[in-house]
Amino acid sequence: MVKIVKSTVLEAPVEAVWEVLRDFNGHDRWHPAVADSQIERGQPFDRVGCVRRFHLADGSELREQLLTLSDMDMAFSYCLLDTPVPLLNYVAHVRLTPVTDGDLTFWEWQSRFDTPAGEEAALAAMVGEGIYETGFAAVRRHMGLAARAADA
């Protein structure tokens, strides 16, 4: 079992960040890895249990199911149903928390998954850096926020 935890602080109020992230079908508008996305069976994107089917830039198709969505906790979780990459039993959690002494947002993105033996490090880097850290930088750009020095 591999566990990934990535977090950052965005220079924006938590409500504004949540508006972007709570749309389970909206990642193709900000994440550079996602080419297109749709919710299956015409369901609303905030219906727990809905499935997003999306494609990466290389054409590969993934399906993920919304397991939890909470406007009160500003959190959601989801799992992978189908993927060409060997991420098994993948469940991810996203949570936003206000930083009250600066009107900022603490954003934590974590997951657990199994992989074939020997592929742990490569897949951990793909998820942690390729998806989560890239996603942090992408939401900063999407919201017009200053990039962190490391991302510039």
Partner: protein, 146 residues
């Protein structure tokens, strides 16, 4: 049920901040509003169930009991046993989380308690500003900020 929530970002690794705040008897060393503190019955300050008996700078005396402490999740939970404040069932939690894209710490301090409705706002503001934010400000001063 009244609720207080205060959070901040401290410019130091979570392990360093935790080292400074984990001692349940250590408030006078890092929190400017606390004058002195002792653990009752000579118990170790990380023994769950121990009671700290301390004074604020204004002389108020408070006794609090340690309910939970985790070096793994970096949190501490405690309850007020005795205080001059008009509240009951006060339970607070101080928690640190690493910010992984820099050597920083997300710090959260929450409390829940019961009180008469007319004093709730004053209590929430007083605890939130003087105790929780005051503590975070002291940590930010200690560790500096970029």
């Amino acid at each position: 049920m009244a609720r207080v929530f205060v959070s901040s970002v401290i410019d130091a690794p979570a392990a360093k901040v935790w080292e400074r705040v984990r001692d349940f008897n250590g408030l006078p060393r890092w929190h400017p509003r606390i004058r002195d503190s002792r653990i009752e019955n000579g118990e170790p300050s990380d023994r769950i169930g121990c009671v700290r008996d301390f004074h604020l700078q204004n002389g108020d005396r408070i006794r609090e009991k340690l309910l939970g402490l985790s070096d793994y999740d970096m949190f501490c939970t405690y309850a007020i046993l005795e205080s001059p404040m008009p509240l009951t069932n006060y339970v607070a939690n101080l928690r640190l989380t690493p910010v992984t894209d820099g050597e920083r710490t997300f710090a959260e301090w929450t409390a829940e308690f019961d009180c008469e409705p007319e004093v709730a706002e004053d209590l929430v503001n007083g605890i939130g500003t003087n105790v929780f934010q005051g503590g975070f400000d002291a940590l930010k001063r200690h560790f500096g900020s970029r």
